[in-house]
Structure formats: structure tokens, C-alpha cells
């Protein structure tokens, strides 16, 4: 009797899995990639170059969280922010200060600094209620500059241009073997990325996420629908700040220091480049973009072809411009679109829906019943 219920439960679970993941080529690809990323690093041989490769992937995961938080705010809600590093830096400095002065372990310090950043995001989001589009972009540029000035002005607390180093005790794992440490950190950041990505994706595809897109499309029509646009914009800022500051806080405990470069313009633009490369408004595109950019930047250009760092941005900008002209919808979306076109059983009119696949599936399962 008992085994029977277990098997029915399992077969039900499998049917769900088949319908929601195996049946959709792009999701199947995502699943394969996740499995690949979960297995390969664990079986890599221990060597210096492999440890370095792992640290590249660690940074890529952290930046992917950062970029996907930007995508939720800008790609979905349309609140163009070019100073998104403000939240990253806030997360980094609060985490570092909490560890330095109160000795809070990362598991406690990071959640607290995330909450602080979310609270500070409300006054930062305030201009978004007054100005729109390019003007908001200009205003948002100012915030990281203000933060950088504060860091330089309060040298006693923040360390100024020297940054704010923390002791080795601040590592996530106390492992002496550097390769094992990297592997542990890799899995930690990758799982964090998975969890954040799923949460952001769920939010983006919920009814609240639909309201975000409505604000991006037509704010006035949103108001005419009875939507309190102010509330939703601030909500988007707060959610975005949570994940951006999470990335910043995690990075402090990986690099063992917070520095003013956490507020830098380059960092903000990296979020833009990664998301646009992957595909704006998709969330998963930001993650794909982050991995591509970091792998090319930190591994291919630095280790394989050995081009000095100063040239990297210059080398990136050209292909990114070409990509944006050629595939404005992003690399990731291009791939998923192609995959969907390949699967023949799907009727033509159901192809290329990038938002809200939920409904397509509902309709499909309704047709089957």
C-alpha cells in the first residue's frame, strides 16, 4: 500500500518534470548546463590553473547575481539605473564593517547588510518617482559617486582608497588546501546564484512581475489600471537592491576586502554589458552574459592570449556593439528562440513568447485534458 503511494507520487512528479522541463528545449538546455556546472568543477584535477579557473567561475557567479538584479529593475520594470554598483558597494561595505567591528560571521552579516541595503534603496529609488528614462539614468549615475566621496572622506572608518581588508577568519570555509577552498566556494556561490536566479525569475513571472512590465510599457496606462505605480517602483528597487547587495556582501568574504571599486562606474557598466549581451528582460540572459564576459575577460584574454588588462574593455566593446546590432534581443534569447523553432510539435503561433511561458503551458495542459 505504502509503496504504491510512493510510486504514484514519483510518477506524478516525473510527469510534472517532463511537462515543465523536458518538454521545453530551452529549459532542458538550462538543466543540462546546471548539471554540467555542478559536476565538472568537482572532478577537476588540483592544479594552479584549475584553481584560477574556479575563482573565475566564482566571480562570474557573483556577478551573475548582480547582473540579474539589474535586469529585474531595468529589463523588467524599466527604471533605468546606470549606478547599480551603489547597492553592490553598500552590501560590500556593510558586510565588511559588520565583520570587522562585531565579528559577525558571513551567515549573519550578509543578511543584515542585505536588509540595510534594501532600506537604503528606498530613498535611492525616490528620484525614480520624479524623473523618467534618460533623466533617471543621469540621476542614478550620481549615487555611486556620492558613495565613493563618502568612502574617501571617512578614511578612519572605511579605509579610504586603501579599501577595507578583513582577516582570513572571514572566509566562508576554513580550509587550508587552496584548491579545496576554491571548490567549496565555487559550490557555495553557484548554489547562491541558482537560488537567487530562481527567486528573481519567480518574481519576474508572478503577477507582480507583470505589473513591473506594465510600468515599463506604459506608466500612464498602469495608473489607469488602478496600479499604485510609486509602490511598485520602490518595490522593484528594493528587490533589486537585495540581490545586488547580496552579491557585494558575498564578494567581501571571498576577496577578504571591500574597496571603493565596489562603487565604480565600470562595475555598473559591466552589469549593463552582461545583461544586454545575454538579453535584457530575460533574467537568465544576464547570467549567461556574466559567464561569457567573465570567462573571456579573466580566463581567455588574461591567461590564454595574455593581453594586458587595460585592453580588455576595448576588446569587449567592439563585439558587444556588433552583437547588439545583430542580435538586439541578446545571445541567450537568440539561442532559446532557435531551440523553440527547432521543436516541431509546437504550433507556430505559440513560438517566441519570452514572457510568461506559464500561460502557454497552462493552455497546453488544458488542451490535453
Amino acid at each position: 500500500m505504502r509503496t504504491k503511494t510512493v510510486t504514484t507520487y514519483l510518477s506524478k512528479a516525473y510527469r510534472r518534470f517532463a511537462l515543465h522541463i523536458l518538454d521545453i528545449p530551452s529549459r532542458l538546455l538550462a538543466l543540462l548546463l546546471i548539471v554540467l556546472f555542478l559536476t565538472i568543477p568537482g572532478i577537476l584535477p588540483s592544479s594552479k590553473i584549475m584553481s584560477y579557473l574556479l575563482s573565475v567561475l566564482i566571480t562570474a557567479s557573483v556577478m551573475a547575481i548582480f547582473a540579474s538584479s539589474w535586469d529585474l529593475l531595468v529589463g523588467r520594470c524599466g527604471q533605468i539605473s546606470l549606478g547599480h554598483a551603489i547597492f553592490y558597494g553598500l552590501g560590500a561595505y556593510t558586510t565588511a564593517l559588520l565583520f570587522k567591528h562585531y565579528g559577525l560571521p558571513p551567515w549573519v552579516g550578509i543578511p543584515i547588510s542585505v536588509l540595510i541595503a534594501a532600506a537604503i534603496s528606498l530613498p535611492i529609488g525616490f528620484p525614480a518617482l520624479r524623473v523618467k528614462g534618460p533623466y533617471l539614468a543621469l540621476v542614478s549615475l550620481a549615487f555611486p559617486l556620492i558613495a565613493t566621496s563618502i568612502v574617501f572622506a571617512t578614511k578612519g572608518i572605511t579605509g579610504g582608497e586603501n579599501g577595507l581588508p578583513i582577516s582570513v577568519a572571514g572566509r566562508f570555509f576554513q580550509l587550508t588546501n587552496i584548491h579545496n577552498l576554491r571548490i567549496a566556494e565555487y559550490y557555495l556561490t553557484f548554489l547562491l546564484l541558482l537560488v537567487s536566479a530562481i527567486i528573481i525569475h519567480k518574481i519576474a513571472n508572478s503577477d507582480t512581475g507583470v505589473v513591473f512590465v506594465s510600468i515599463l510599457d506604459d506608466e500612464m496606462a498602469s495608473k489607469a489600471c488602478g496600479i499604485n505605480v510609486t509602490r511598485y517602483k520602490l518595490m522593484a528597487f528594493a528587490i533589486s537592491a537585495v540581490f545586488a547587495s547580496l552579491a557585494g556582501g558575498v564578494n567581501v568574504h571571498l576577496l577578504l576586502s571591500a574597496s571603493h571599486s565596489d562603487f565604480s562606474l565600470t562595475l555598473s557598466f559591466f552589469a549593463v554589458i552582461m545583461t544586454v549581451l545575454g538579453g535584457m528582460g530575460t533574467i537568465y540572459g544576464a547570467i549567461v552574459g556574466a559567464y561569457i564576459i567573465y570567462f573571456l575577460d579573466m580566463y581567455f584574454l588574461r591567461m590564454v592570449v595574455e593581453i594586458p588588462d587595460v585592453w580588455h574593455i576595448l576588446i569587449f566593446i567592439v563585439p558587444v556593439i556588433i552583437l547588439v546590432i545583430k542580435w538586439p534581443r541578446g545571445v541567450a534569447r537568440f539561442v532559446t528562440d532557435k531551440l523553440e523553432d527547432l521543436s516541431e510539435e509546437r504550433p507556430l503561433e505559440e513560438r517566441g513568447k519570452w514572457i510568461w511561458k506559464k500561460y502557454r503551458r497552462k493552455k497546453k495542459s488544458a488542451n490535453e485534458d
Binding site: 503577477d207 505589473v211 512590465v213 506594465s214 510599457d217 496606462a221 488602478g226 510568461w356 500561460y359 502557454r360
Partner: protein, 243 residues
């Protein structure tokens, strides 16, 4: 008590008085037509009532409560929704999601019984205006006539007591016009009072029991459709003076 009571409403844009001291009222269950030549101030009137523009003076009362000066979304949540003359769909969202946005508003979600999901309610609203077949299409590929109907479904999503329709028939062919007339009648029977701004008098006269005429921001006539079509002043405004 009247459902909507507008008293001495005035709006000036610099030297131009777009709406000049207009008073009228709407009763529960009515369909009222609002006509007038281009530039008469009809859309401005809608914008004033729904809070998208600030009035210079006057009062607007919904069920006796003054709503003038409230934010647009608050007015919607008090039960006064509108559509736009130029369609404003959420282009990136599927048709059904357009309606869902309205159902996400406090007033829209209030009306959803616990057993009905938002999605089902949205589908019902699309069925009411005959758009359920297009539910999965992104709004940007819909034809103009469909978008006009989508506007109405979206406004209905907020469950309005009073619905202000800004030229719902503009750009529709005769068949679409007939279909929309029928859906509007059904919607009215469901308990939604309506004010319709329209240039297609033929379609309007079938629906409206009472017609207001605006000219240069002033109310020049009010009455039953057949009275209005014979009103000398109205004919003068539309056709010009007889010599």
C-alpha cells in the same frame, strides 16, 4: 444621490479655456454620450475627472465624495475607470496579462472570489469583449480594433461603477462597431454605468439614453438623442450657420 456629479469644472491652458464652468451629473445605470466638435474639451474633461490633469476650479463628486485632486490610481480604486482615445496597451505583455494588471489593483483583486484565480477572471473579461482567442498573443501584434476592445476589458478589470470610454468606436469597421455596441450593452446591463465620448454619432445614438454636447469647453445642450439631433444650436456647431 447621483453617481457622478460635476459642478462648475474649469480648466485653463494658458489663455485657452479648455473646459469652462461645466456642470452635469450621471445617474446609476445610465449610458451617457458626450459629443462635440474636435477641440471641444471632451478628452480634457475625462482627464480632469480621472485625475490625470489638475482642474483649476470646480468639484467632482463620486457618490457624494469629492474625488478632485486625488491621484489617478486612487480614483480608479474608488470605482471610476477610463479608456484612452489613442490605445495604450502594454505591448510586451500577452493580451491576458494586460487585463491581469488591472486585476492586480486593490479594487480589481477585491472582486475576485477565493475560488477563482486571477487568470480565470482575466479570461472571462476577455471573453466578454470577444478577445479570448487572442489571449496568448503579445498585445503588440493585435489589430487596432482588438486593442480598442482590450482597453475596455482592461478598464473592466478594475470593476468600475462608472466607465469613461474615450472614442471606443474610432477606427472600427461597421461589423466591429456593431459587435462592440452589443458588448457595451451587455456590460451596461452588468451594472457598469458609462460615459462615452464619440464622433460616430450613429453608433452612439443607439447606445446613449442621454447626450451632452460640448463646444469650446462649454456645455451647449443636454437631452435625449432625438432632441439633440434636432437642436438648432448643435446643428449650428456641427454644420455651420444657415444664411
Amino acid at each position: 444621490m447621483h453617481l457622478l456629479e460635476v459642478e462648475n469644472l474649469t480648466k485653463r491652458f494658458g489663455g485657452l479655456t479648455a473646459v469652462n464652468n461645466v456642470s452635469f451629473h450621471i445617474d446609476e445605470g445610465e449610458i451617457v454620450g458626450l459629443i462635440g466638435p474636435n477641440g471641444a474639451g471632451k478628452t480634457t474633461m475625462f482627464n480632469l475627472i480621472t485625475g490625470f490633469l489638475k482642474a483649476d476650479s470646480g468639484t467632482v463628486k463620486l457618490r457624494g465624495e469629492n474625488i478632485l485632486g486625488l491621484a489617478p490610481h486612487k480614483i480608479v480604486n474608488k470605482g471610476l475607470a477610463r479608456t484612452f482615445q489613442v490605445v495604450r496597451p502594454f505591448r510586451h505583455l500577452p493580451t491576458i496579462a494586460n487585463v491581469l494588471v488591472a486585476l492586480k489593483s486593490p479594487r480589481g483583486s477585491d472582486k475576485i472570489e477565493w475560488i477563482k484565480t486571477r487568470q480565470r477572471k482575466a479570461l472571462e473579461l476577455l471573453e466578454d469583449v470577444g478577445l479570448s482567442e487572442m489571449m496568448m498573443e503579445p498585445a503588440e501584434i493585435l489589430a487596432h480594433g482588438d486593442l480598442k476592445r482590450l482597453e475596455i476589458a482592461r478598464a473592466l478589470g478594475t470593476n468600475p461603477d462608472l466607465l469613461l470610454l474615450d472614442e471606443p468606436f474610432a477606427g472600427l469597421n461597421p461589423i466591429e462597431t456593431d459587435l462592440l455596441t452589443k458588448s457595451l450593452q451587455t456590460i451596461n446591463l452588468d451594472g457598469h454605468t458609462m460615459v462615452i465620448v464619440e464622433h460616430k454619432l450613429h453608433a452612439l445614438m443607439k447606445l446613449a439614453k442621454r447626450v451632452l454636447v460640448l463646444h469650446y469647453g462649454e456645455k451647449i445642450a443636454e437631452g435625449r438623442p432625438e432632441e439633440i439631433t434636432k437642436n438648432k444650436k448643435v446643428i449650428e456647431v456641427y454644420m455651420g450657420k444657415e444664411k
